[in-house]
Symmetry: C2
Amino acid sequence: MGSTTAPWKQLLLNALQSNSHLRHSSYFQLATIGPNGMPANRTVVFRGFQDNANKIQINTDCRSHKIEDLKHWPFAEICWYFTDSWEQFRINGAVDVIDGSNPDSMKLQQREKAWFASSPKSRLQYLGPNPGLPSLGDQPDQGPSSLDPSAGPAAAFCLLVLDPDQVDYLNLKSNERISFSKKIANEETSWNSEKGDSLVSLTMTRSSSWA
Amino acid sequence: MGSTTAPWKQLLLNALQSNSHLRHSSYFQLATIGPNGMPANRTVVFRGFQDNANKIQINTDCRSHKIEDLKHWPFAEICWYFTDSWEQFRINGAVDVIDGSNPDSMKLQQREKAWFASSPKSRLQYLGPNPGLPSLGDQPDQGPSSLDPSAGPAAAFCLLVLDPDQVDYLNLKSNERISFSKKIANEETSWNSEKGDSLVSLTMTRSSSWA
């Protein structure tokens, strides 16, 4: 199913391209729901699409609160605003939490792939007694100062994989709105898309975002 | 209670100041929970502190989905990332939804004040049959083309007021983390603050944000 390329994906790749000069263009906000029933929202880093398909990857620490949230209720909504092109993507779906104890060997391979795809400096974050700080720049290194580059995923390393069900796209320069919804029938995945102007409820949701 | 100035507020004012050259520095992501129990997340615009106290104001359209969300479950978490100073504020609390039918005359006055504080162009958004598009720049005007500047709030105009309970602050340049929690005793509001390093759970939450 993941091999069907979603129609919203090219829009997102274009936005990433046109904002790539901005370090923060790969950051988005991930909303989850805590075990206490409260909304939670934090910035995370886009780590690419899984196997170049449609699923969105995020690296995180098994000891983080968002893991607790997602194990309790495995749904999230991404809000990704591109500050240069004035585009917003709202992407919701179920999130698969893949830690070292995952019984699925394919998923363990994906976790290992994500580990080796991340920089040695960001890998170091997972080796301390507590997670280190994000590596966004010239901060002092956290945790251990050296890493065996051939060493596999640290126990604390966790891969999150969000499988998009709906994507709401807004372009504030072209005034374009598009709502994409996944449909699954007979094991086949397809995507419906509707222009905002034909979708009052979307229009409401969208416009009110900045109203 | 709102008159006690919170210790996190100066940090937020400083961040707004040091990022004020960026149009998007007044945008943040607001997470709510839909009636279907799903997390929702969208970009909104900071409209200032209520009466120069600690409560955060957001203007929105009564017809937007977030109103449905908040009437069903009146709690939200803001994630506000400042892209130039590398500071993140996570601010959660209850949200008061103030529309034209509010029985409290003080709140109706606050709604009117917020209406007149917003630009004529953004007021126009509320006058169409559906909400218009956000006014972030040189987009074509939406809805009616003229507005009586002395006319009071449109029926669709809604003021949201978030009353912060907890604020988690992260500075990625100084590696500083501070967690602020509101305490209310005998009608008195006070704020506790703890440095991240003494707060493992905060450390975990924070660091994992970008891990």
